[in-house]
């Protein structure tokens, strides 16, 4: 039995700008089922971090409970991690983010963790525009407890045991658009070409970025009749377009501008290059995004790609007017400014 990854690596692996190879962004060996979509997503996250030249110690991974929530052990082995209570990852992420605004926050959750037990937490994290990447590894079933339908299983989807799901699915992307999330994307674990640029864009987005990733459960939900199987998703996927993350403005000037290309400036001067496949959809228009999602749903299609983005919206730090420095970078003098400052605060409350 080989649950040990050999220590050897390819001798000529490319390095990123800060001198790390993609290997340096890996975690320990996955214990999920062979072929699990979640493993592809974690590989995509590791790749995105490599390509974004992120220092591994500048990343925090947070999760709840479930197959999806085990995955932070399987990527970025040198980053911070917190495996929290079922459905409570957004609270922990909020606390961590408030204490240290300098890290990249990956919240990793599943359809059970987000759409059932954690629904209350999920919607409020969106409402507060917490600056994080919220990845839902969505397989439409409870894989850890033998594959019962979850709240995101589509109406009429057939389980491995043959039963038909009688309930409406919660559409997390539509919900997020409705709640005012500032970055909403949908993708498929089997399409890294689309997923990696989306993750990079989400990492660079200031505010709440939801990535709802359909991730087939090979063991319990990859059967004919399931709407979350590899085959079904590949047949019904409808991409809004392609997204590229453009770190330098100068690159834009050199590229061929096409009628369907659109550039969205992000908070730090970087750009998203969107190549739209559908002329009628405008990713910066919430109504257009909501309508595109509803149309796709009516046609039985899974709309993927960047669905909605709104830059410049204040995130939770902006709204609360928190200090610009992480708490762990402050000295005692700043953290405890003394009696005079306390009196001032008290006076302000009288």
């Amino acid at each position: 039995m080989t649950y040990i990854r050999p220590a050897f690596k390819h001798p000529h692996l490319p390095k990123n700008q800060i001198g790390y190879t993609a290997k340096d962004y890996e975690g320990s060996l996955s214990t999920l089922c062979a072929g699990c979509g979640h493993d592809s997503i974690t590989a995509a996250i590791a790749r995105a971090c490599f390509e974004m030249n992120v220092q591994p110690h500048k990343v925090a991974k947070l999760s709840g409970i479930g197959c999806s929530s085990k995955t932070p052990a399987y990527f970025l082995g040198n980053s911070h991690g917190f495996n929290s209570v079922h459905g409570r990852m957004p609270s922990v992420a909020t606390g961590a983010n408030m204490a240290n605004r300098d890290l990249v926050y990956f919240g990793v959750s599943g359809d059970g963790d987000s759409a059932s037990i954690g629904m209350g937490q999920f919607v409020h994290a969106i409402r507060r525009n917490l600056n994080m990447v919220y990845v839902v590894m969505n397989n439409g079933c409870y894989g850890l407890t033998k594959g019962q339908d979850s709240a995101t299983a589509d109406l009429g989807s057939k389980s491995k045991a043959g039963s038909i799901n009688p309930f409406q699915a919660i559409d997390l992307a539509s919900l997020a658009v409705e709640l005012g999330a500032t970055f909403v994307a949908q993708s498929f674990s089997g399409d890294k070409q689309q997923l990696i640029p989306l993750l990079k864009a989400a990492m660079n987005h200031k505010g709440f970025a939801l990535l709802n990733v359909i991730s087939p459960c090979v063991t319990f939900n990859n059967n004919p009749g399931s709407t979350k199987s590899y085959d079904y998703v590949r047949e019904h996927v409808e991409a809004t377009g392609t997204v590229d993350f453009v770190p330098e403005k100068s690159e834009i000037l050199h590229s061929q501008e096409e009628g369907t290309d659109k550039y969205v400036e992000m908070h730090d001067g970087t750009y998203l290059k969107l190549h739209k496949l559908d002329q009628h959809w405008d990713p910066e228009d919430r109504i257009s995004a909501a309508s595109a999602l509803q149309h796709a749903r009516a046609k039985g299609e899974i709309l993927t790609g960047l669905l909605y983005v709104h830059t410049g919206h204040p995130d939770l730090h902006d709204v609360l007017g928190t200090a610009g420095k992480p708490l762990n970078a402050m000295l005692e003098k700043e953290l405890c400014p003394g009696n005079e400052a306390l009196q001032e605060v008290n006076a302000g409350l009288r």
């Binding site: 690596k9 390819h10 072929g35 493993d39 592809s40 085959d231």
Partner: protein, 597 residues
């Protein structure tokens, strides 16, 4: 790229780098696994079937397999393949019952073998069990050829050589020793069905034109002749100060033998830079370990003789200059000539072929360099019933090459004697079988250990330098042999990909520890090589390309640094990847091994 044709046995053969690099294509990982399982007899027989002299080669092989070993591309050092082979030879049980023993039912054909070295003995072994009557002629007093006359006993004990030569001679070979064949015509007139010439490269190069050569002749010796005189106990001593000229393995054997025959200040002096020397790195190390300095970039100018006695040599110091084609020229540094004292000089600067005994009017063609015209595939000369092999065919190489050529010549002789076309060679025997035992279980040790190469222990210098016959290397003990064997990556356990099972979940691509696997759109090879997760820059290693998959992509695997760890197959939900053991055995006239060991 077109999908890789894995039905061609050469594709998977090439993945087994060690076996592919071995001239005799010995199934290396196969016997290394047997050694790890303490099945030394079986390991020995796998070797014996393929390379005939496992005990000899486990000590003296040039090891073309080791530079090829995949392990050397992922860490510092390759697996110690050669010395593991010796472990099998050292620890085997009595194997005579596994070896074909005559008398064999005669097939009525008579073969003459001229020369009793590794090539001839291989031909004898391959043909005798088929009923050929074999007559072997050699000028030495016992069989083995250069293995006996040129390889010193401290590297290859007589007992080891005698045993393996004996296995063959005991098959009912009519061996005539102390008989130097002086005329090919005389042999041809004896009505043999075929004649095999395996007379080696018997003439050591000399420096006849160097001043002082004839005046100092009493103390100037040709390396291989001197080694033979030592081996056959005609020579027992040498002067205290010795210069050995040359940078090959013979030079290393000469200097180390000198140290055992009374040489106290022995120096190797070589024209080329140290790194360009032909000697194997380990042979150079062993020489230096015996306090023998190697002086490189010294071109001999003259032998210095005083009062009719050799006093030393002078050399011109040079440095190498490489032109734009990488061709080397040794240019004098212009310094004053260097004088080095010497009581004796051994010249080991190369060997040449020599066929004074072959009449030039028999129809056997020679080329302008005086070499016989021999077909590179069939080893047939322009006299249809005369075949060549070993150093006699294409000049000096090594034992394992001689064995490989002996096999090919034997195949040709068998075809020739049966009036079949010599160019239609028999196919290799191949087998491909899954090693899957359970969900994460394989019938081979898939775990990749991190151990560095283990060193072979040596007897103390104080003992070995006193006794010419005391073997220097002690060989691995079985515990170390197991650890070293575990370093083998099992490259013969192939990653076999079945397209129509693949659901393109990318699990294999994500898990592969050395990033060998990429799913991407197809392209031509040069383009594909740049587009893989890790660029495939080693052009000597193939790409395994699948047919087009459902999404329109192809699976591309760069074979270069695959660890054969099986993780791709373990992470594959549909068994599109499987680890399958590939066995490749070169075709021989007779198959020796019982089908089940």
């Amino acid at each position: 790229m077109e999908p890789t044709n894995v039905k061609n046995p050469e594709y998977y053969h090439k993945v087994v780098d060690c076996q592919y690099a071995c001239p005799a294509h010995t199934p290396v990982p196969e016997y290394i696994r047997l050694i790890a399982a303490e099945k030394y007899t079986e390991a020995y027989l796998v070797n014996w079937e393929s390379n005939v002299f496992p005990g000899v080669l486990g000590r003296t092989c040039d090891r073309p397999c080791e530079p090829a070993c995949r392990r050397g591309r992922v860490e510092e050092e390759p697996v110690a393949i050669c010395r593991l082979k010796r472990v099998a030879a050292d620890n085997k049980e009595d194997i005579t019952r596994f070896i074909p023993r005559g008398p064999f039912p005669p097939n009525g054909k008579k073969i003459a073998l001229i020369g009793g070295g590794p090539a001839s003995l291989t031909v004898a072994r391959d043909l005798a069990p088929l009923g050929y009557e074999i007559h072997l002629f050699d000028e030495q007093k016992a069989g083995g050829g250069m293995m006996r006359s040129q390889i010193p006993s401290f590297r290859l004990p007589d007992a080891v050589l005698n045993e393996e030569v004996g296995f063959i001679l005991n098959m009912g070979i009519h061996a005539v020793f102390n008989k130097r064949v002086e005329s090919l015509k005389a042999v041809a007139d004896e009505k043999y069905d075929a004649i095999f010439v395996g007379t080696g490269a018997p003439r050591g190069r000399d420096l006849s034109d160097l001043p002082g050569r004839s005046e100092g002749a009493a103390n100037i010796h040709i390396g291989i002749e001197w080694l033979a005189n030592v081996a056959f106990e005609h020579t027992h001593a040498i002067g205290k100060k010795v210069i050995v000229l040359g940078g090959g393995n013979t030079a290393m054997d000469c200097c180390r033998t000198s140290r055992r025959l009374g040489g106290e200040q022995v120096k190797v002096v070589v024209r080329s830079p140290f790194s360009d020397m032909k000697a194997s790195p380990w042979e150079k190390e062993d020489a230096m370990h015996e306090d023998i300095p190697i002086l490189d970039n010294h071109v001999p100018l003259s032998f210095e003789v005083k009062n009719g006695r050799l006093t030393g040599m002078t050399f011109d110091k040079v440095h190498p200059v490489y032109d734009e084609n990488g061709k080397r020229k040794l240019v004098s540094t212009g310094e004053a000539p260097v004088f080095i004292e010497a009581d004796d000089v051994l010249i080991a600067i190369g060997q040449e072929n020599s066929f004074p005994w072959i009449e030039r009017d028999l129809g056997l063609e020679f080329d302008k360099w005086g070499m016989p015209v021999v077909d590179a595939l069939t080893f047939q000369s322009t006299m249809p019933n005369v075949f060549f092999g070993g150093d006699a065919a294409f000049g000096p190489k090594n034992v394992i090459t001689a064995v490989a050529q002996g096999h090919q010549a034997a195949v040709s002789i068998d075809l020739y004697c049966n009036q079949k076309s010599l160019t239609e060679r028999p196919s290799p025997f191949t087998n491909l079988m899954s090693t899957k035992m359970g969900i994460h279980e394989w019938s081979y040790d898939s775990l990749v250990v991190n151990d560095q190469r283990f060193a072979v222990p040596q007897a103390p210098k104080s003992e070995t330098l006193r006794d010419r016959k005391k073997e220097v290397e002690l060989g691995f003990d079985v515990k170390t042999a197991f650890q070293e064997a575990q370093r083998c990556l099992n490259c013969d356990v192939q990653t076999v990909f079945t397209e129509d099972r693949c659901i393109e979940c990318d699990a294999c691509m994500d898990i592969c520890p050395t990033n060998c696997i990429t799913f991407t759109t197809n392209g031509d090879e040069a383009d594909l090589r740049t587009r893989l997760i890790a660029p495939a820059e080693n052009m000597s290693q193939d790409l395994l390309v699948s047919a087009t998959l459902k999404t329109g992509k192809v699976m591309v695997k760069d074979e270069d640094v695959c660890l054969h760890c099986g993780l791709c197959a373990e992470r594959c939900p549909t068994s599109a990847w499987d680890m399958q053991k590939f066995l490749y055995n070169m075709a021989k006239p007779a198959s020796y091994l019982p089908s089940k060991l």
